[in-house]
Symmetry: C2
Subunit: 457 residues, 2 copies
Amino acid sequence: MERFDAIIIGGGPGGAKAARTLAVGGKSVALVENAHWGGVCLNCGCIPTKMLLGATAPKALLRGLERQRVAKGVVGVEYEALQKRIQRYTRAASQTLAKGLEDAGVTLFNGRGVCADPHSVRVLGPDGSETAFLSATAIILACGSRSASFPGLAPDHDAILDSTDLLAIPAVPESLIIVGAGAIGLEMADFFSAMGCTVTLVEAAPQLAPTEDADIARELQKLLGKAGRVCLTGVKASSLLTREGKAVLRLEDGRELTADKALVAVGRAPNTSGLDVDKAGCALDKRGFVTVDERLRASPTVYAIGDVNGKTLLAHAAEHQGAYVARQILGAAEGAYEPGPVPSCIYGALEVMRVGKTAKEAQAEGDGVAVSRALLTGNAIAQAGGDASGFVKVVWQKNRMVGIAALGHGVSHLVTAAQLLLLGHYSDEKLHQFMFAHPTLDEALAVAIQAPREPAA
Amino acid sequence: MERFDAIIIGGGPGGAKAARTLAVGGKSVALVENAHWGGVCLNCGCIPTKMLLGATAPKALLRGLERQRVAKGVVGVEYEALQKRIQRYTRAASQTLAKGLEDAGVTLFNGRGVCADPHSVRVLGPDGSETAFLSATAIILACGSRSASFPGLAPDHDAILDSTDLLAIPAVPESLIIVGAGAIGLEMADFFSAMGCTVTLVEAAPQLAPTEDADIARELQKLLGKAGRVCLTGVKASSLLTREGKAVLRLEDGRELTADKALVAVGRAPNTSGLDVDKAGCALDKRGFVTVDERLRASPTVYAIGDVNGKTLLAHAAEHQGAYVARQILGAAEGAYEPGPVPSCIYGALEVMRVGKTAKEAQAEGDGVAVSRALLTGNAIAQAGGDASGFVKVVWQKNRMVGIAALGHGVSHLVTAAQLLLLGHYSDEKLHQFMFAHPTLDEALAVAIQAPREPAA
């Protein structure tokens, strides 16, 4: 048995952040990971996706400028070379991460971590045999999530793929059905469309990007439609299967769509099966997520952070929670976990960003919700980039700014500024005094904050 | 004689902002402009330049991705169409601005404004005859600046051009000498190089971007050199003249350079000649700028804002000063003018941004200056964009963060976030609690702020 101050199961953004913070703070830490250091985000999630979209970015820019007839050209992405580069990059980054953790004093264990009791974790090898037995004062569950699937809509890894399969696909398919138009579905649709693949997006919810503001989603769908994309919303899939090597999607209305491949991107499910959390005194909710209190404690000795607690399924939320829990163990963080306004981005030729509440979320909390907005057509940098479609939208709750969202080319670049403006209550007097650099896309934030407010619809 | 609460001479960013703020605040305002509404910035400065650089942006992106062999292509800019689009856009934006001012209640006068006495301004027509005589409680001088020139280095508008000439040049020259490597020189060099023109940058100071940190300038020069650009620094020009239709630059060391055209971009000079500021009780400094006190007052009844007071020659500084002076007249602003940490950007394939002090500026104020930095190679979004060269640098003065600067592709997007982090004192505890969206280029700011600090060289 090896003793530590803390054992962390899962070496993704949350686990790695907690491990480093604890080690730097003088604690002995065991970090257990059964796949790759850096987790889904680095190895088969946000990072590979951004690298795909980075490679098609010149095409997206060029498209806008071509519409204005000020540029023309042909840009080709070398798909195989891009795949290799992504593999090289993520492998190297994963190794750098592991080395950095070891240098900080973290003890790394390759294997599957399973709870043994409120203070102990068994590490299992590929064959299921125990390779280590670890014990500690505190355990942090940070084991993340995987692609969710529903009966009839499960990847068969033949023509029906999950996002990990699709990221590793050796050649661009001619046609692709994507079931689910959240961030993953939208980003994959953007990349594969740019690569010349015929993409059909199918979303059960009445809008694309179901967690975003309805009018942002509506405008997004309109703009994607103009660009020739097929997006079906409010359409339920009843089954997905491989038939004669092709993906066949049957919709509840009886229609049948066929494509070379289909991606199932209908959400994420927690990696809690076989984790034996009950042995550590923890419970799972109906969907399988670890239940936690306001300090992210799942039991008196166990914390759960990141996707596995189901609070906010975003890499940076996991990281933030990891830092909080580590600082709590170190005695440096006090009080309940407070995420602040959570930022999120959907990347691509057209981007969506949001910090804080949507109008709908604010309205669910009571009356007095107003919105103000600024069109990007009024922004010189958006105009210079060739695509000034989209807008910035600010949500007000009883005259307090509680959310900022945007749709448009490059708006992911606004996310941190928007978050800081929101956190710092930059409206009225404070905004007047703030000197916005000119010309910047960021100025659209100021225009939206200062625009006349109207009651939220 | 027409009476107003305020007369503003100059309809650029500063004057327009002051005019609108006063009009919205219920004052009667006369705004006098002798060229185009929106001033140099909109009509022959920042905005046209950003539109040129917007058109070459796909080329810049492609170059990085080609180096990684993940993309290839050919992108051509339709220079004539681009010129037309810029003209159309700036003309329309200028008209929209004028209309917006009129709608807000501002009375617009086309003509040259000249001080008559501490309360009056004469408006002169193209032939110098008086077209209006205006009188007001307060006068705001916002007449901006023009390209500076030195004896022997004056544009002849034949082969030796100023930036306005170059922006309007009907075809891309085969070769171009640019004298002066500040923001204007660097941005023009970036555009014309991308257009296939052979550009030679000549800077008298020992570094490119003379107002920026020496190590940012050094790295910029190194990276431009790698990209095949010719940058001569610490080299003084002694004369520039058109000879047989070509631009000939003679250097103090005796060398002679020849090109199709030369741009003189050696700074800006205030538009105060013939303004008769003495009649309004104001004075000019040795360089011709209007002297002002800490409330931007040039006399008991006259204010001077923007380039013409020589404080900070940036459009957004003018705007900020315009808002301050207007609010002072409205009784809403109290105390001395406080710009806060001023943001600035140099745009292009490689960008430079800065907010607050350089290390050198901080060192001039005393000891205890340290710097911390983060390379962009460690940032996933920089990697995905194909060019992860450059870095973010933070300047500390006695453990207080007083400046953030960056060099690299797309770093202009960091400027507002950096400014808000600086203003909000986001270091240590506050930064720990802040949730940075992942992956974003913005994360490089956090890494730089948290990096080990070393004494400034």
